[in-house]
Amino acid sequence: MDAKLTIPVKEEDIRKLKLGDIVYLTGVAYTARDEAHMKMLEEGCPVDLDGGVIFHCGPIMKKIDDKWEVVAAGPTTSSRMNTLQPKVIEKFKVRGIIGKGGMDRDTLESMKEHGCAYFAITGGAAVLAAEGIERVDGVYWLDLGMPEALWACRLKNFGPLVVAMDTNGNSIYADVDKKVQEKLPIIEKELGLIE
């Protein structure tokens, strides 16, 4: 299924999404990495994330005549935020996470409980991703440095994003991992590592 969603996203719309669905997002999403996740749990968040979407991304931004413009903005490795994400989802009622590489079981559980989905975007495809960002609405916590700051990015039909973890406790990454783990002993046998 292809879905066009507008931020803030309603819980019922997120809960309709199934693994493998393709989603395009419109509205303001916020970039947040390790430092911003830690800071929002310690100090609270300077923006309203209720129904919001967090983009695991440390973009390259350029200031032109006092206005920030996006240069490149692909996803960063989501698993670095594994220990922080469930608390952020619960505390701020986040409905969507955009990232790469997927997240752990605890995050998947939190997504199921609180109604949040994980959207995979191709890692490294940063010029392509930037094309889906209409403009930069603002920046918070720039003292954390450009990559770690909280950037307000106005998305326009941002995608295609793959629903890689849904609200039913399903995860493409967990499915692939399971297959890889089943395959591993067969490969190890072929490599002469086990009898």
Binding site: V71, A72, T122, A125, I172
Partner: protein, 293 residues
Amino acid sequence: MGFDEAIKNMTKVLLKEALCTKLPEDVESALKKALEKEESEVAKSQLEAILKNIKLARETEKPMCQDTGIHIFFVRIGSEMKIDLGTIEGAIKKGVTEATAEIPLRPNAVHPLTRKNPGTNIGENMPYIYYEVLPEKDYVEITVFPKGAGSENMTTFQMLVPAQGKKGIKKFIIEWIAEKAKNACPPGVVGIGIGGTSDVAMKIAKEALLRPIGSRNSDLEISALEDEMLKAINSLGVGPMGLGGKTTMLDMHIEYAYTHTACLPVAINLQCWAGRQATGRIYQDGKVEFIRR
């Protein structure tokens, strides 16, 4: 133009080419071949996005990935060059600073403990420069190798014992890739360093990543291991971006060094799909050329 000015300019051109406009042809063509092999729609969509992005970056001259890396340089100095070698480091740092502001690059270099970001990609021991001497050559060769964190974070090292031998090496590699490849923006390259001491193994693992896709180690024992492990890795099914598929890695390169009779060091360094690197030479007479290392 002084030699230091030439080095600075070369540094800027190499960063622009590596990060924006000139992904090595062997990498792009390997990605295209990988796309032809994939059957699942999700896997295909990832490779299509990567290829489209490479084209867009080339046309717009923007960094193909927002993670423009931490900057590692390999400088090879011809023994016939009559120049003030003391100027090289300063000139490279100037080039990195200017490229960071002008291209622009993401300021990635931070203090490891305070995490303070000076915004220039310059700091203690960074950019890091490896020097080497080339006998009988009359040029200085500079390779820039910007390394993104997605793949660099999936690095590992083990001091195996000699009794573990080749089997131990294979087990270490296949189990590491099975677990970690999905976070390294696959399909990329696996760089392996076997032998030497811990530091040597790590360094040659990184240098293995500089080799063109499809190249093989000249030692037949080693090249057979490269072929065997590449096939095994791609049977895992991790696939592009870890979303499942036939191509987990485009290639597997192993470098080796003689080691202590009681040691078996093995280093694994991964490269994401964006195998960004660029190499140029400045000759004694001022001539400049660009090559695929």
